[in-house]
């Protein structure tokens, strides 16, 4: 990963966003084969692999528990109210490979999916939505993972 581009991607100002949007096209080509993001070791790298820095959106709703009794199975649901949603990504920020899942939503399928993810520790869950015209939007929610039971 090019460090200069990393810096740009991390900039979430309006200007940075425009720059990032400019990067989408080249990144899209990379993401076309689909699996590159899964080997990324940080959220920034994983986001870059799927197309760049998304814009925060209130039209994405993440349903996940505030506190998970066990990190091995954490229910996560994402609903996108953004018109033209074509892909939904689930990221678990602090996992060794943050990109957990990608869902391609064809015409006629509701832009809402539920699954269950592993979380090694308390972490942000980031949902990213890609629209048919290649724009990226995201929402973030924290889940606390607790130690349970008798402790051994």
């Amino acid at each position: 990963m090019n460090p200069t581009r990393r810096t740009v991607l991390k900039t979430s100002s309006a200007l940075g966003l425009l720059v990032a949007c400019g990067l989408v096209t080249s990144q899209q080509a990379l993401a076309a084969t689909g699996r590159e993001g899964f080997s990324a070791k940080s959220l920034a790298d994983a986001l870059a692999a799927v197309g760049g820095t998304p814009a925060d959106s209130k039209d994405i709703v993440i349903t996940s528990p505030d506190i998970a009794e066990n990190g091995a199975v954490v229910p996560v649901g994402v609903v996108s109210n953004i018109p033209g949603t074509s892909e939904i990504y689930f990221f678990v920020e602090k996992n060794p490979n943050p990109l957990a899942a990608m869902f391609r939503i064809p015409e006629g399928t509701n832009a809402a999916v539920q699954s269950r993810l592993k979380m090694g520790q308390s972490t942000n869950v980031v949902a990213v939505v890609k629209t048919a015209d290649g724009k990226l939007y995201s929402a973030t929610k924290e889940t606390k993972v607790t130690l349970g039971g008798c402790g051994g």
Binding site: N95, L99, A101, R104, N110, V113, R116
Partner: protein
């Protein structure tokens, strides 16, 4: 040979809700067994759900999806008696397809 999936597909008001449970260890490749040996990665990478012949959802998954994965979503259309099929493939080349009649 993997165990069969549990698939539910229910149609109501022109929308079909699909819920799937898949039997799979979803090993991330970082856990050590009792003898201290790392258990190799073994996880589902691709899932395709079809209504008849039409693809209604495609998934790419990584190691962070939980063991015995759960998937739920809805698509427009579908009627009682239609067929919904789910196929998965994993990183070791295993695969499985099961289908259910929409209720």
């Amino acid at each position: 040979m993997a165990d069969p999936m549990k698939i539910r597909a229910n149609a109501a008001n022109g929308v079909t809700e699909v819920k799937v449970l898949m039997a799979h260890p979803m090993e991330a490749g970082i856990r050590k067994d009792a003898a201290g040996v790392v258990v190799p990665a073994h996880y589902i990478t691709d899932v395709t759900v079809k209504h008849g012949e039409r693809v209604v959802l495609q998934c790419l998954w990584g190691q962070s999806v939980s063991q015995n994965p759960y998937l739920a979503f809805k698509f427009k259309g579908g009627a009682k008696g239609d067929t919904v099929s789910v196929s998965w493939q994993d990183n070791l080349g295993e695969s499985r397809t099961d289908q259910v009649t929409v209720a």
